[in-house]
């Protein structure tokens, strides 16, 4: 399907159309919307990590000045158990409803137990303080070891482990067991010259998006709601809100704002149904914004994990067997990103014998949400770290070890199907040749290498293209623009229509104005929605050829489209001059009416993404602080529509992964209370912490896309965790198998 062609627009580094408004502060984000008579909603949250809610008394709070409405779990409708048909970790609508507002139990510190709408934030917060909640404290279960123990306190009393041959006889905190295998690992380990096995741990981390969750909701007397919010998927906000509140989706209109980061964390709802219900109860519009503290405590972080990996290999580096035991924290409700973590872990390698066993485990923490390549950074950190340890044992260059075993087109992926065209080997070879890989290292410095993998997603997208009367182009689609997708959509429309980029405008439309479109996530937008834009543009071209043919009085199949003009095919005996898009649009009334192209699709063949990253770090032996000196990210991107934004994805993913490796973690006290719920104590890397991230784009076209596009947004965060861990080992001579590699942990390891 991918076409070899010379592109005019694709590959240009144009200015993004939303850029000026965003850097000058004009763009409207989630908290920027207001309506007359608007109230402010605030949420009362559990001070306990695990407690039975004995009673909630709101009588005094309801009489306080400025208070218009109070809701608790009792005000929400009962929600039937129904699986959410998303991807990994989507969970169940019943759980989602209870996560939005607790019913009989508070399941994590920060779990919502009541909400108030008042005339001012101060009045709302005063009312929260007047609500009396009587709790019966229960033991807090805060890690997989405790949760999986036979005598563990149960978070959900009637949870029976799924995925076993027989239903267990008693409930547990293990929501699901999964297994992937091939061959016989006993045979594989017997054939090995060297066998290594280690345990690795990663902490709970947050996506760290800069914009907190925010929304404005209003519902009229006819029961029709409008919600403005920052989200990665307004159609998902609509469906989730409808389920939580038992409303018809047709009665909910969701208008997406600009979005200040999401990284997977804005693919579900927390406050939107609460705001709608408060609006319904008060008869006023209600605005809600989370504080940063609430974002940390009560949105969806990424799973903490424990991974035990075992690898057998021949002396020449050939892998003979691999096993993985993976335990992923799901938070207080089932549905972690275990499955993709398990499916990714051995995906880059050919190995005849492997066994992966994984556990989805409940703990008294917020329900995890997607975070950029959900599940893959944790499991691949463990595997890529152990491969580094194996390379040292075998005295092999870590890139050579990976080249020896790298999957290629036709290889059977560990998760099932055979790979089509992929660029893992090309990335490894590019890394080996890269000048940064040959730079000398100084004292206390070390270099680390690791690979990354992500499937990428297709799914449903829609696009419309309107040709205005002067030949300019309006693209209407339904994916909030997080990473520059307006520019990419405009480039693809310009390419197909043969018009300059600056003639194209892109609108992100609401749920009543755009065709159904899945979330901005899964690295799917440029691939899937881009494909819809391409098809919509081809629809326009087809119509233009028909209009030109009608104008000239010839058959439509005798018309070509070249450089934005309808032209007669060679040999056509007609004395006509080419018609531009503007000519045809200007004459549209006479040839059939306005030009409107459209496409909707369920995209298949997203094309997996492979990356190879390496970095140099220096350790301060007196403090344990690690500094990243150089970082090089190499990735197969298929075809870069806008190279600068693709490079930006590689750089952003590297920066987030470095933060995960070096400093980021939820720190809990003995009672399950997060102690560092703010950016001062939860330390994401800032610009001064990092060097310029060097990037190299490898382009192995995806055969399932007209231009060869494959998703690029998630793969970049997968490799950095192991890259930094491996570099730290190289610099210090000490292997630390638990993240983050914060100065105290590194110093303790150095001091033995």
């Amino acid at each position: 399907m991918s076409e070899v062609r010379n592109f005019r627009a694709i590959g240009q580094r144009v200015i993004r159309p939303d850029g000026v408004d965003k850097v000058t502060g004009r763009a409207n984000f989630g908290a920027d919307f207001s309506l007359p008579g608007m109230l402010y909603g605030r949420v009362l949250r559990s001070p306990h990590a695990h407690a039975r809610i004995v009673s909630i008394d709101t009588k005094r709070a309801a009489k306080m000045p400025g208070v218009h409405a109070i809701v608790t779990g009792a005000d929400f409708p009962g929600v039937q158990s129904e699986e959410i048909t998303g991807g990994e970790g989507a969970g169940n609508y019943k759980d989602l409803a209870v996560n939005v507002m607790a019913r009989d139990k508070a399941l994590y510190h920060g779990h919502a137990v009541a909400a108030v709408a008042a005339a001012s934030i101060a009045e709302a917060e005063a009312a929260l303080a007047a609500i009396k909640v009587k709790y019966e404290k229960l033991p807090a279960v805060m890690d997989v070891d405790t949760a999986m123990a036979d005598d563990a306190a149960l978070i959900e009393e009637d949870l029976y482990t799924a995925g076993l041959p027989e239903k267990p006889t008693k409930p547990s905190n293990i929501a699901m067991v999964m297994e992937l295998k091939r061959g016989d690992v006993e045979v594989g380990f017997r054939d090995a010259d060297v066998v290594v096995e280690e345990t690795y741990r990663t902490p709970t981390v947050h996506q760290g998006y800069i914009e907190p969750h925010a929304c404005l909701a209003t519902i009229n007397q006819g029961g029709q709601a409008t919600v403005w919010c920052c989200t990665q998927g307004h159609f998902d906000v609509r469906s989730s809100t409808s389920k939580v509140l038992a409303m018809n989706v047709a009665d909910i209109r969701v208008i997406p704002s600009e979005i200040g980061g999401g990284f997977g964390g804005k693919t579900t709802v927390y406050i939107e149904p609460v705001a709608v219900l408060l609006s319904k109860k008060s008869g006023r519009p209600v605005k809600m914004t989370m504080t940063r503290e609430e974002v940390f405590r009560a949105s969806g972080p990424a799973s903490a994990t424990k991974c035990v990996i075992k690898i057998g290999a021949k002396k020449d580096g050939t892998l003979t067997a691999m096993t993985a035991w993976l335990a992923y924290e799901a938070g207080a409700f089932r549905g972690s990103s275990l499955a993709p973590g398990a499916m990714c872990i051995f995906a880059p390698y050919k190995v005849d014998h492997f066994l992966i066993r994984g556990f989805d485990v409940l703990v008294n923490k917020p329900k995890v949400a997607a975070y950029r390549a959900p599940g893959a950074p944790q499991s691949m950190y463990a595997c890529e770290s152990l491969l580094d340890e194996l390379a040292r044992k075998l005295d092999l260059d870590p890139i050579d070890l990976r080249l020896k075993n790298a999957v290629e087109e036709g290889s059977q992926a560990a998760y099932g199907p055979k790979f089509n065209a992929i660029g893992f080997r090309e990335c490894l070879e590019a890394a080996k040749r890269h000048p940064n890989y040959a730079l000398p290292l100084g004292p206390n410095e070390g270099r680390g290498v690791a690979a990354g993998f992500w499937f990428n997603a297709g799914m449903q997208s829609s696009a419309e293209i309107h040709i205005n009367e002067n030949g300019t182009v309006t693209v209407i689609e339904g994916n909030p623009d997080i990473g520059g997708s307006r520019a990419s959509m405009a480039l693809m429309a310009a390419e197909e229509l043969g018009v300059p980029y600056d003639r194209v405008r892109v609108q992100i439309a609401d749920t009543e104005s755009a065709g159904y479109t899945n979330v901005t996530g899964g690295s799917r937008v440029t691939f899937a929605t881009g494909m819809a834009v391409i098809h919509a543009a081809r629809d326009i071209v087809g119509q233009c050829k028909q209009r030109a043919a009608a104008t000239w009085g010839i058959d439509a199949d005798m018309v070509d489209w070249q450089d934005g003009h309808a032209v007669p095919k060679p040999g056509v005996n007609a004395d006509v001059k080419p018609l531009s898009l503007a000519d045809i649009a200007g004459n549209a009334a006479r040839t059939g009416g306005p030009l409107l192209g459209r496409a909707s699709l369920n995209a298949r063949g997203a094309g997996p993404g492979f990356a190879v990253n390496f970095a140099d770090v220096r350790v301060d032996p007196d403090t344990g602080k690690l500094d990243v000196l150089r970082y090089t990210a190499i990735q197969d991107v298929g075809k870069a529509i806008h190279p600068s934004y693709v490079e930006g994805q590689l750089q952003g993913g590297a920066a987030q992964g470095i933060g995960w490796a070096l400093n980021e973690e939820y720190v809990y006290d003995a009672n399950g209370v997060m102690e560092n719920a703010g950016f001062l104590d939860y330390r994401v890397p800032v610009a001064s912490d990092l060097p310029m991230i060097d990037t190299q784009l490898v382009e192995v076209p995806n055969p399932s896309h007209p231009y060869g596009v494959r998703g690029v947004g998630e793969t970049p965060i997968v490799a950095p965790l192991a890259v930094i861990a491996n570099a730290a080992h190289s610099a210090t001579g000490v292997r630390i198998r638990e993240l983050p590699l914060s100065p105290p942990r590194v110093l303790a390891a150095l001091e033995g």
């Binding site: 499916m343 099932g416 790979f419 990428n456 996530g521």
Partner: protein, 81 residues
């Protein structure tokens, strides 16, 4: 004949069989073919798992063609972040 693969977590749907051979031309036909042999299997598959046909992962397949030499794999649905 297309080869159809079930991973461990779905093999109970086919009474433990992990590889089947089916003479079908589309996923719609494959579903009917499976349902005839394993009544009720459709409810456990449709909307709950993804499918890879010749390496292309698809959520919610139905009309997608399957060739005589195709490989069809059922797998967990992946959405991403």
């Amino acid at each position: 004949m297309a080869q159809v693969f079930f991973p461990d977590h779905l093999a109970h749907l086919t009474h433990g069989t992990r590889k089947l051979v089916a003479d079908v031309a589309s996923f719609r036909e494959l579903l009917a073919w499976l349902e005839a042999r394993y009544p009720g299997i459709g409810d456990a598959l449709v909307g709950k798992v993804a499918v890879a046909i010749d390496g292309d992962i698809i959520h919610d397949p139905f009309l997608d063609p399957i060739g005589s030499h195709s490989e069809v794999h059922f797998l967990h649905r992946i959405e991403g972040g």
